[in-house]
């Protein structure tokens, strides 16, 4: 897998590059800001980019903006956003506009090589990956009545694993359930969320989005 890293912290870029040398991920460029990232993407056409949410010049949300720009201009490039923020709103902003091939991880996950590489692999395969901590925070969010409230405890568990980006098989392993049971749960979830018309893959993504996006989600940006 060919990867471009964008982070204004030189130490982190170097560390990450060296760490990824031990895997099959090839870091073909590492840059310090959003415009350099866009140039690198245009030049190398990588499989994926890792982008820090805070970069020069304003150090606020350049990463999200760059991620959305890249997804719009290069649909084949998957984007994994790294963030220090616990807020779900940046993750939601990313997912508002993208139904797949994006991920949002807390920055400290970079030291967990397995998690990082797994997330990279899944976003390049078109899934969307959200950090478990953020998913947990969203799960505990009980602000307004939403279709998700109608789900049973088990169904919600399955849905939150789907949101983290796990496949059916992964969910089976996590919850110690048979594939058949998991499929049944997912079927119930689709039915309760009234997702009956589209193909299986899109239903999956949309279920996750219904779960992640609170009904009164604000349009941002």
């Amino acid at each position: 897998m060919r990867l471009v890293i964008a982070d204004d912290e030189v130490l982190l870029r170097q560390g990450l590059t060296r760490l990824l040398e031990t895997t099959d991920v090839e870091v073909i460029a590492s840059v310090g800001d959003a415009s350099a990232l866009k140039t690198a993407v245009a030049e190398y056409e990588p499989d994926a980019v890792i982008v820090d949410i805070k970069m020069p010049p304003t150090h606020t949300d350049e990463g999200i903006t760059a991620a959305l720009d890249i997804r719009a201009s290069h649909p084949n490039v998957a984007v994994l956003v790294l963030s220090h923020y616990l807020d779900s709103r940046y993750a939601l902003r990313l997912l508002e506009h993208q139904e797949g091939s994006v991920g949002y991880l807390l920055k400290e996950r970079v030291s967990d090589l397995a998690v990082l590489v797994d997330a990279l692999r899944r976003v390049t395969e078109g899934e969307c990956v959200v950090d478990p901590t953020i998913v947990a925070r969203l799960m505990s969010r009980r602000t307004t009545p939403s279709p998700v409230q109608m789900l049973s405890e088990r169904e919600r568990e399955v849905l939150s694993l789907m949101a983290e980006g796990h496949s059916n098989l992964g969910i089976c392993e996590k919850l110690f359930l048979s594939p058949r049971t998991v499929e049944a749960h997912i079927g119930h979830i689709f039915a309760k969320l009234k997702l009956t018309e589209s193909t299986d893959y899109h239903r999956r993504v949309r279920a996750v989005l219904i779960y992640l996006r609170p009904s009164q989600a604000r349009t941002t940006g």
Binding site: H84, S88, R89, S140, R141
Partner: protein, 591 residues
């Protein structure tokens, strides 16, 4: 205290200067001088300026006495007290003209008569230049001092020093007490120069007064004219008469009498002119009594501005009060300034400004109206000024409280950014380095590998703590997206169920948003693991935030109250059920 002290001091001085006693003694002195003039004139009517016949004598003495009385009356008013003294002096100077008569009887009277024979025009000119309470400019001051030099010295004291009655052929004259040396040539030289100088001076004064009258506004002219016009006439006559003599004209008795009687008439008019001002003052006072009554009647005595605006018919009128630091505030204690193009009139109390009126130009050119306002409204002015001072202090106190809270918010925000950009970044890099060390060095020494793993776990939890800490300090959502976004994120923070209803989406001033957010966050934090509901409504006066929790809040909420109070907000706590508490905050948003 300092101000009051000064005020009373000034008042006391004023009483001494222009008290009844002083005025009575001036009138008494005038009567004495008048009777002496009558005595001198009666002794030999042919030698007197009035000539034989009592009507002329009555006119002469009457003019002097009228000036003295009018002067004493003018002294009663603070604004014309100096002019009053001078007016009385002019009367005196007019009366002593009769005293340099050979039949003066006493050397003292004769000498005074000699030295002051020509002083009257200078004093009358002085009155006209400063009336009613003008500070003469450089030109006015020059004209006044030239008058004293010419009329007092060249035509009075100067010749008197060299006038020996005996060598002048006046054997019956009393002794000249001022005589230094008998020099007839010097006397005639001084007199000749003095007559020319007096003519020129009188013309200059007439020009000055006429120009001033023409340049004054209508209201101002109404005040100046009754005094200035008689003086112009009187000094004009003096110039005519002196100019004629200086040009070699002979003393022609009927003409001199004509000049003299008209001068007396004009001085009577001067006295009357000053009295007219007093009568007008009475009338103004009567009209302004309404103001005093209105101010006294109104239940809320704080509205000097609108009462004055109605009485003076100027809706844009403003009343400003001075603060100790020199700034000006309105009755509410808020900084204010006169509108551009408006005139500003000072209201003073014992010389100390107590208020300013900003009004349409020329509305208050008449000093009498200003004085009457000061008198009629003095209690209200004092009351409003003190209240404005207190209000201003409150305003500045509130502003400083708000600044302190804003500074603490800014500091929280700065800390939050620093933690994200500094400590957190470094720890993440450290975690990476640790991972690399684990990969490269772990194989060589399994024990080290285990230790490194333990470090990584510690580091991960440190990072987690740091992230929570930074988020609690100042959620970036609050600064970026506002109150509703930040409160919604509170619901994610875990243990409790937060029901949020009706959150206004719009942005508020940063101080209001953070006060409202920390109010909710703090209550939610204190009753963790309970259910809470938050209702935020945007009502007319401001933002109303109600937080209802399924718990009794035992601890004091003073810190929250202070935070809200800094923005003029209020907080109420009420028990709504068995173990439920409702905390309500109101925040005005007019900031």
């Amino acid at each position: 205290m300092v101000y009051q002290h000064r005020h009373w001091l000034c008042h006391y001085q004023h009483m001494v200067q222009t008290g009844n006693l002083g005025r009575a003694s001036i009138v008494a002195a005038g009567l004495v001088m008048a009777s002496m003039s009558v005595a001198v004139a009666m002794r030999d009517p042919d030698l007197s300026l009035a000539g034989p016949g009592w009507p002329m004598l009555v006119l002469e003495v009457g003019a002097g006495l009228l000036l003295v009385v009018a002067g004493a009356a003018a002294m009663a008013r603070r604004s014309t007290s100096t002019a009053g003294v001078l007016l009385a002096c002019a009367g005196g100077a007019w009366l002593i003209r009769e005293w340099n008569s050979p039949v003066a009887g006493s050397a003292v009277v004769f000498t005074i008569g000699l030295a002051g024979a020509s002083l009257c025009p200078a004093v009358a000119a002085h009155v006209a230049v400063i009336y009613p309470n003008f500070t003469p400019g450089r030109l006015g001051g020059l004209v006044v001092s030239m008058g004293y030099l010419v009329c007092g010295f060249l035509l009075g004291l100067g010749p008197a020093l060299f006038f020996d009655p005996a060598t002048q052929g006046c054997n019956q004259c009393p002794r000249n007490l001022l005589l230094v040396r008998a020099e007839n040539a010097w006397i005639s030289w001084l007199t000749r120069v003095g007559l020319w100088a007096a003519t020129l001076w009188a013309c200059a004064l007439v020009v000055l007064l006429v120009v001033r009258l023409l340049k004054a506004s209508v209201a101002r002219r109404r005040v100046l004219a009754p005094v200035a016009l008689p003086v112009i006439g009187y000094v004009g006559l003096v110039a005519w008469s002196d100019g004629r003599l200086a040009g070699g004209g002979l003393v022609v008795e009927p003409l001199e009498a004509w000049f003299w009687s008209w001068q007396a008439v004009l001085l009577c008019l001067l006295a009357a002119g000053s009295a007219v001002t007093r009568i007008r003052a009475r009338r103004t006072r009567a009209s302004l009594t309404r103001l005093a009554l209105d101010l006294g009647r109104s239940a809320d005595r704080n509205d000097l501005r609108s009462t004055l605006a109605a009485v003076l018919d100027d809706p844009d009128l403003k009343v400003l009060y001075p603060l100790a630091d020199g700034s000006r505030v309105n009755a509410a204690g808020l900084p204010d300034a006169p509108q551009p193009g408006q005139s500003v009139t000072e209201l003073a109390h014992g010389g100390v400004p107590v208020a300013w009126l900003s009004h349409r130009p020329r509305l208050l050119d008449d000093h009498l109206v200003v004085e009457e306002i000061t008198t009629a409204a003095s209690l209200t002015i004092d009351y409003e000024r003190l209240r404005a001072e207190t209000q201003a202090q409150l305003v500045s106190l509130r502003a400083s409280r708000a600044r302190i809270v804003a500074a603490s918010d800014a500091e929280r925000q700065r800390l939050e950014r620093n933690l994200h950009d500094g400590a957190q970044q470094r720890l993440v890099s450290l975690a990476l380095a640790l991972r690399l060390a684990r990969i490269t060095g772990g194989e060589r020494s399994p024990a080290d590998g285990i230790r490194l793993d333990a470090c990584a776990v510690e580091l991960a939890s440190a990072l987690e703590d740091l992230r929570d800490l930074a988020h609690g300090l100042y959620p970036s959502a609050l600064a970026d997206e506002g109150l509703s976004a930040a409160v919604e994120l509170l619901a994610e923070s875990g243990s409790l169920t937060l029901k949020i209803r009706r959150l206004p989406e719009r942005r508020y001033p940063a101080a209001v948003e953070s006060a409202a957010y920390f109010f909710v966050a703090e209550i939610v934090r204190r009753c963790a693991r309970e259910n809470a509901s938050v209702v935020v409504t945007d009502e007319a006066p401001g933002l109303v935030i109600e937080v209802e929790v399924d718990a009794a809040i035992d601890r004091e909420l003073v810190d929250l109250e202070d935070r809200l109070g800094a923005l003029d907000g209020r907080m109420t706590v009420s028990r709504t059920g068995n173990a439920a508490t409702k905390v309500r905050a109101e925040l005005p948003c007019a900031w």
